[in-house]
Structure formats: structure tokens, C-alpha cells
């Protein structure tokens, strides 16, 4: 009896402590999310709002123009994500491995220097890189000229075939600090006994990394992949600040975020359409939801965890 009341009291306690977070989260995240999902089922009829069922989704996928824009944005977004997975995360792991090496001097300095771009604003990053890569006053053409490779310079941000990749790499430059820090923390948490035991068994150097450390940091890599996925499919700021809302040239850098912005808020003479905008926002939510579920149920459950 006494045990039961104690448990009850404890439960009550938990609810009180969770309440502020849940209330705030519900008010600013969950309600707007359902608001958006609801708005996507409506359409404008003159000045009033009427229920339209799935008509907006049908238009988005079946109208040749809307669907072309949507698939183009989704395709670009996938490529944006692939760049991050292939470049940002492996380099992040490599940097973390180097930083955690006890032989490296000045490692706090490198750690800070590599992490700093992450805390810069997108606007600064977009503007700075636009200047660096500018064919007129940028340092990129001059630097290439110094080593005799001026012929390799291309106005990257203005060419359809390069612009998106360039922006992807700029984003990688900005955010490489995040996987680096997470992996670095994971590497530091590996107990020395495990490493020593490995050394006793004659596993050192690269083999030690592949056979001992990498399996131990796999859960962290999984988390980073999910963070990258969510971050990339919600990306908007960098493209908007570097290329504008029309995501030129010829929509080649248009990702779901910019497509949503243009549709929802309108641009120049185009007036905003909150209903189609919400439809695109809902699709973004479903895509991210599917990706995260895939990770949670198909990948995370299979990851082996080690308890020390």
C-alpha cells in the first residue's frame, strides 16, 4: 500500500516536470503541424476557404507543371542529401579520429576552428561564399591563377550543372563540425581497457579503428545520418541566401524548402498560395517521417549496442 502511494506520487512528479516542455512543444510544434496538414485539404474559393479533400495533392502529382517542379525539387534534395552523406559524414568521422589521437598537438585549436562555421549565420555563409566564388572580385579565380590553374575556374554558382553541388559542398563546409563533435565524443567514451585489450591482442593502428572503434561508434553514425537527413530535407536558408527564391539557374538548385517558400508566400508578381504551400509542406513532413521511421524500425533495431 505504502509502496503504491509512493509510486503514484513519483508519477505525478514526472508529469509536472514534463508539462512545461510538452505544453510549449504542443503549442509551437504539434498544433501548427496539424494546422498545416489540415490547411492542405482546403482550397480558396474567392475570399473563403472550402474543403477540397485531396485535390491539392492530386494537383501536385498529376498536373504536369506542378509535378515537374515537385520531382525536380525532390531530386535536387536527394542529391543534396547524398553529397552530405558521402562528403560531410566520412570527413567528419576522419577528423574526429584524427582529433582523438593522443599524438596530435593543438587539437583544441583545430576542434574549435573546424566547429566555428557551424555557429555562423546562413546569410553570412551564403554571402561570403558568393564573394569568394565571384568571377569578378572573388579570391577563388585569383588563387587558382597563382597555381596556374585559372583555366579550371568556372562561375560555379551560375552553371546549371555545378550550382547545386557547389552549394552542397558549401553546406558541408559549414556543418562538418557537427558529425565531428558527435563522433569525437563517442570515440572519447570508448573505455581505455577495450583499447588496451585490443593492443594486447596485437590490433593497432588502422586495424584498431576498423575493428574496434568503428563498431562502437556505429550508433552515433546512425544518429548523425538521421540528423543529416532531417536537416537536408528541411534546408532552405543557404539556397535562399545564395541563389534567391527562384533557385536559379533554371531551378537547378530548387529544393523542397525553396519550392515551399515560393508557393506559400509568393514571389515578386506571384501571389502566395497557402493551400498548395501547405500541401508541399505536408509532403515534406511525410518524406521526413518515412525516412526517420525507416531508420528507427529497420536500422536502429539492428544496430548492436555494447555495454561496458
Amino acid at each position: 500500500m505504502a509502496e503504491e502511494t509512493e509510486r503514484k506520487r513519483r508519477r505525478w512528479h514526472i508529469a509536472v516536470f514534463l508539462a512545461p516542455a510538452i505544453l510549449v512543444y504542443t503549442a509551437i510544434m504539434i498544433l501548427p503541424l496539424f494546422g498545416t496538414l489540415q490547411l492542405s485539404l482546403f482550397t480558396a474559393d474567392g475570399q473563403s476557404r472550402v474543403f477540397a479533400g485531396l485535390a491539392n495533392f492530386r494537383q501536385l502529382f498529376l498536373d504536369p507543371r506542378w509535378s515537374a517542379s515537385f520531382w525536380n525539387a525532390l531530386g535536387n534534395n536527394v542529391w543534396f542529401f547524398i553529397i552530405h552523406m558521402l562528403v560531410q559524414n566520412p570527413i567528419g568521422i576522419l577528423l574526429a579520429a584524427l582529433l582523438s589521437s593522443p599524438k596530435l598537438r593543438f587539437s583544441p585549436f583545430y576542434r574549435t576552428a573546424i566547429f566555428i562555421p557551424t555557429i555562423l549565420s546562413f546569410v553570412i555563409v551564403g554571402f561570403t561564399w558568393k564573394l569568394i566564388l565571384s568571377p569578378l572580385w572573388g579570391v577563388a579565380p585569383n588563387l587558382l591563377d597563382l597555381i596556374g590553374l585559372k583555366s579550371l575556374f568556372v562561375p560555379w554558382l551560375g552553371k546549371e550543372q555545378y550550382a547545386l553541388t557547389t552549394l552542397g559542398l558549401i553546406s558541408v563546409w559549414q556543418f562538418i563540425g557537427i558529425p565531428m563533435m558527435l563522433i569525437y565524443a563517442a570515440l572519447l567514451s570508448i573505455p581505455d581497457e577495450v583499447i588496451e585489450a585490443a593492443e594486447c591482442d596485437g590490433i593497432t593502428g588502422m586495424a584498431q579503428f576498423w575493428k574496434i572503434k568503428l563498431p562502437l561508434i556505429l550508433p552515433s553514425i546512425g544518429i548523425i545520418s538521421v540528423l543529416t537527413f532531417v536537416g537536408n530535407f528541411n534546408a532552405f536558408d543557404l539556397i535562399y541566401s545564395a541563389q534567391g527564391a527562384l533557385a536559379g539557374p533554371n531551378y537547378s538548385t530548387d529544393i523542397l524548402g525553396t519550392f515551399l517558400y515560393r508557393t506559400f508566400f509568393g514571389f515578386q508578381l506571384q501571389t502566395g498560395d497557402p493551400y498548395m504551400g501547405s500541401t508541399i509542406a505536408s509532403m515534406m513532413f511525410f518524406i521526413i517521417l518515412a525516412g526517420v521511421c525507416l531508420y528507427l524500425f529497420a536500422i536502429q533495431t539492428r544496430l548492436r549496442r555494447y555495454q561496458f
Binding site: 507543371r65 565571384s134 562561375p155
Partner: protein, 418 residues
Amino acid sequence: MKTQALTALLMASSILGSAGMALADTTLTIESWRNDDLSIWQEKLIPAFEAKNPGIKVVFSPSAPTEYNAALNAKLDAGSAGDLITCRPFDASLELYNKGHLADLTSLAGMENFSDVAKSAWTTDDGKASFCVPMASVIHGFIYNKEAFDKLGITPPATEAEFFAALDKIKADGTYVPMAMGTKDLWEAATMGYQNIGPTYWHGEEGRLALIKGEQKLTDAQWVEPFATLAKWKDYLGDGFEAQSYPDSQNLFTLGRAAIYPAGSWEISVFNTQAQFKMGAFPPPVKNAGDTCYISDHNDIGIGLNAKSKNADAAKTFLSWVASPEFATIYANALPGFFSLNSAAVKMEDPLAQEFVSWREKCKPTIRSTYQILSRGTPNLENETWVESANVINGTSTPEAAAKKLQEGLESWYKPAK
């Protein structure tokens, strides 16, 4: 002590309030996208108004041009927009009026100072109600570096053949980039390119109205030709023009590194303060000597009243002042290149602005083809024109393919009244 002071203050304010509005200042806020004009409003226009109208304070609060429409719509919906709204021409403002965000100003004192053409950009389709006071129009043309032209012995070209001959000569000399324009920001290609030279081909108003009526198509020869001419510009632009932004182009010209700048007259005030050399201007070249020339004289800025403004009377006083010749004179001279739409003749000091405005005498004016009615649907014709003009200059699309895409996009939603 603090409470006492506060009580005293509250009492004082309530007494002042009941004593009459004359004692309390009314503050009017102007929403605008012209952040370049901030100093002109603060130093010239607002003091001139406040000196005459004690008790009304005016605050000019601009936002970035590309964000203005979206930000304004959001503010109006939320009820937090300023009292006075700077009006984009045509549909963007008409939509605001139809939604009840802008007040009807048809009977405002001072509106009689404007012609119907001047008011056309801010009038309902049936012409019955006007909702913004016209402020200024902008004219397209080409600004050139006079020193470069003198050095190379070039005279301002009148025909297209002369225009390209001049470009060839500048290119062969190699001192200057022949033409300062980039395609990165897209709108330069459409606004300074397509809409600048286009009216010559589609014969200004004749073609524009025929397009609205459905008698002409964007795939007709007169609408494709300007694209074909634009495609030829590619060879005369600076290195890496694909990544050259609008400010880059401005700087390239004002630093004296480029000879010709496809311009809108709004550049005049900026160029006057930055360029160290003499400048001249010429209208879009005609095809054959002696042809009628056409210019884009585009109604660009008006100012309207937020229908939900709490200071409507003070705001109307301000708007009547904006409609007065006094405002027109201060504005046109403070901002050479923004030409007054007021019927009263305005004397301008700036020679470059005088050159631009003189074309109104000899050329037929029109407005940008995509602005009235044709940009109401999705896909948006104006935005598509930006993208396709840039594609044509970049060489990633042919003039015919670009025109076809625009026409298909327009046809998908626009059914001309027949």
C-alpha cells in the same frame, strides 16, 4: 516615487488626450521596398511634409525588395502593417485592394493631378476605383560610359546593326567589358534585357494589348525575336556572367570597367554618386533607321492607404501631399530616374534624367508586357520570363524553346476574353 511619476504621466496623457488630438502627435508608418531611398525620405521628403503639417510624424520603414510582397501580405493579414503602403504596380496591389487591405482613394483630394494612364496601374479592371496615388515611373534604356565611347570613337547607336557594331568594336579593343550584365539574379536578364528591347519588336502597347486579348502568342515572331537578340548578347558580357549578380553589374559599370549598361532609369541616382566618369544614355535601338522607337515607361511606384489604419485622416493628408506638385518636384529631383507621373510639368536638374525623359517625346511608351493581367495565374508569367531570359542568354535554351515554354505556361491558365 516611480509609481507617482507614472500616475502623473498617465493623468497628464489622459488630459492631453481629452484636450484634443492636435496636441498628441500622430505617427504614420510607410511600408516600402525602396530601402535605397531611406535617406531621401528621412532628409528631404518627411521634413518637408512635417514642416507643413505639425502634429503628424512620418516614419519610413522599408524592407528588402525581394521580400517586400511576402512580408507585406503577412503583415496585412496579421493587422500589423503600417498606415501607408507603397504599391507595386498592377495585380499585386489590385489583389490587396480586392482583399480589402487597401482603401479606395478615388475621391482623394489631389487625385485629379494624374492622368488615367498614370493611374492605370492602380485602378480596378473596370476603371471605377483607384486605390494608390501614383508616385513614379521608370524608363528602360542603355546607359553608356561617355569616356569609353569617345576614346573608341563610337557614337550612341540608333539601329540594331550599329548597336552590335559598337559592341564588336569595344570587344576588339579589349579595354572595356562591352556590356555589364549578369544572369545570376535572373531578373536582370528579363527586366533589363527582354522588357528593355522587346517593345521595339512587339510594337509596344499594340503587341501587349493583342497578347492580353489573345490575338498574338508569345511564340509569334515579334515575341521570339527579342530572345534571339538577347542570345547574341552572350558574347559581349563579362567573364563568368552566369555568376554575376545585379550589384556586381552595377559595380562593374561604375568602376569604369564596362562600356554599356542595359539599364532602368532608377540606376541614375546610384550611378551619379558612384561613377567618376561622364555618362550618357540611348534608347533601345530600332531595327532599321527611321523606324518608330518604343520605350518601356513603366508605372513602378504608388502609395496607398491601409484600410485598417487607425490614423486614416492624417494618412489622407499625407497622400494628398504626395499627389501635389511640390512632392513631385522634390521626389523627381532627389531621385533622378524616378519620373513623376503628375500632370504638372516637373523641372529636373539631372542631365541623364533629362535624356531619359526626352524619349517620351519621340518614342511610343508602353509598360512591361507581363505585368497587367498576364501574371495572375500559376505558373507566373513574370517569374517564368526571368528564368527563360536567363536561360536564353546562358545559351542553355533556344529562343524558340523559351518562347514555347512561356506560351504553354500562359495557356495552361489564361483564357483571353473573346
